[in-house]
Symmetry: C2
Subunit: 437 residues, 2 copies
Amino acid sequence: MQKIVLRTQHIEEYANDNAIRSYQQQVSEIHQHLHASISSDTENIPTGWLQDPLEANQDLIAEIECISREICRKSDILIVIGVGGSYLGAKAIHDALGSYFTKKDDVEVIFIGNQLSSDYLNQLMDYIQDKEVYVNVISKSGTTLEPAINFRIIREFIEKKYGFYAQQHIIVTTDQENGLLKKASELNNYRHLTIPENIGGRFSVLTPVGLLPAVVCGVNIRDLLAGASSAATELSSPNLDVNPAYQYAVIRNILLNQGHQVEILSVFEPKLKYFQEWWKQLFGESEGKNHTGIFPTSTIYTTDLHSIGQYVQDGRRFLFETILSIAEPEQDITVPFLADDFDALNYLTDKSLHEINTIAKDATMKAHANGAIPVIELNIEKLDAYHLGYLFYFFMKACAMSAYLLNVNPFDQPGVEEYKKNISSLLNSTSKEYKLS
Amino acid sequence: MQKIVLRTQHIEEYANDNAIRSYQQQVSEIHQHLHASISSDTENIPTGWLQDPLEANQDLIAEIECISREICRKSDILIVIGVGGSYLGAKAIHDALGSYFTKKDDVEVIFIGNQLSSDYLNQLMDYIQDKEVYVNVISKSGTTLEPAINFRIIREFIEKKYGFYAQQHIIVTTDQENGLLKKASELNNYRHLTIPENIGGRFSVLTPVGLLPAVVCGVNIRDLLAGASSAATELSSPNLDVNPAYQYAVIRNILLNQGHQVEILSVFEPKLKYFQEWWKQLFGESEGKNHTGIFPTSTIYTTDLHSIGQYVQDGRRFLFETILSIAEPEQDITVPFLADDFDALNYLTDKSLHEINTIAKDATMKAHANGAIPVIELNIEKLDAYHLGYLFYFFMKACAMSAYLLNVNPFDQPGVEEYKKNISSLLNSTSKEYKLS
């Protein structure tokens, strides 16, 4: 009774059961390597996220819920400061499980520190001027430029606004022991949540990094973690026949070897937009090194059928598509019958919008398959906290397997470090120039 | 004094001046073909958008501004219903020139009809229940499924809410003569704006399709059209040496022939997100046919440097990047000096956020170029209505040239039609099944 159903009817000509099973030996070895790292003492392989996430966070849940209750009681806005893995997971949860339209009594959660637009920050400062604000700054090292600059500016605002009580409004999520943010948090008596040392940024959504923002958004994080916990159990077998996460990893590898170099993660529910962004970081950063890896991109259908759809249907054939679909919506709506039938749509009046959306999905899959695009479908029953937690774990496990199948290390990001060094050195050098002039 | 500066320092090893100039003959022929179509009587080549957009819309501006004044006076919300070319251009203007945070007295513009999520539509119906609403439904044929279904549902809401006065709240943007929407608009006495027959969907942003929503958003459409008008003049030469739109088209073609099959349009200002989406439709739908074309994708930096940045830096080498940069922000903000320097960022306190963002852009271009990614930069002075109008025209003209260089027709979209037929037939057949059961 797995919570994610992997449908392969449109990829059988590219990756049949035999081709998939031929990876079993390799998959078992990688599986062994991954799981051995949990119990070993070495911290060379940061696989803390592989452990049952419900168990791992058991002692933290009550503390996080307690902080969240205070934030909800005392503030209009929670500003979450973070970038990359300290941003995308929390934003994915916020959008997937929240409302499209903010309701009056909800705490509004605003994500900043992920870019450097001065227009944005100016408008934000105007917007929050007269509001009650809490801040959750998330950064393992505390030295990543974007969140650091944004925190400096927001902290000044908070200190001016709340004076002696400012420290109450700042919650720091950072490393247990090291880093500037940890030091600042001790000096200023900020509340402090820990990012486990053996969990890297893009694998950290089910730690306090994602959990505090999630619970402020009204998400039941016990359900979220329970979903991930089910996944940890159900996806724990090295046997390809019963492990869809590994099947997905193997199929990707087969497709890449056939020249399908771009993967489009497609959804038919716009709420999943930032889940897609989270997924892009997960796979792009884990696999995109040594001049290899599948280039991860995304589309939201049916919107993008009317833009990039033409290319997918009939452009250069180096794509494949993974459709993440949802069986049941939260609420449905029926097409109304109209006496004048001005738009000739009365033939649809026995259908709901979700039924039509599902037919659109099937039509799309068929059309793209006919256009020589391999199409994988991953289907979940509904989009709730439980299934979202399951999805996070599913993709993290699939990603680790997939990267190892490519012979790259899923857990480093040398290219990002290069940019970070690059900008720091440019900033320092111009800084000196400015000071000399 | 061109308004877009094309910087090529990071692509010289891929496409030097000689290589670019070798396209002159071909470019001149295509240019001749395109421009001849304006004055010819045949409507086989829909190049109405090539004409001076200010001149073309002269008689309409006052009418559109008048309707907009009524909407702003009488409503809280304008719902714009459209998909593809009847959506992305207007949304691009809305986001690029509007505020990040909606202000109380502004008319809120909500775009629907571009997807089929029942959760979204349900939440929207709740949200607008007690608000004053106008609707602008945009569809050339009136038969595209997503906007048609959404309009049917919204029209019912408007008729229940306003009764006899409902027709006053609906403005139709559609074909001059044909289509269901045109007929409905006559029968119901809706106000009606025309999409010129010789302008296809993805080239229609500077017609009433984009202009009415734009002016409701507070955009000065005279400036927008003036920018496009300047572009029409400045980019009217077939001479590659003085026409950056054609230079861009040629460089893309050279890069594709070298195996750079994916183009990333990157920005450092998140407001441009839907401009990127508009651009993706423009190029994807114009070029992605006959199993050729560059796959268009996008990133928002610095955000995505911390996700897909690793892949761009060091993944499979089949990418190139076009960076659309802005010299001056609307407002800037300075990094404050802090006595405790808790984050060790005092060395930045003589810098503004926009300066740092610009340094990040230069650092990124350098890093990616060093990582064997060709990087083109397109720079505009500032992001205002004038420059945005210029950009729209620039890319449309570059796109037409680029598609012809690939030997594909820039103005059709056979793959999209396939999906449209596909879904209609699936809906009809299940519809019959349902009726039989």
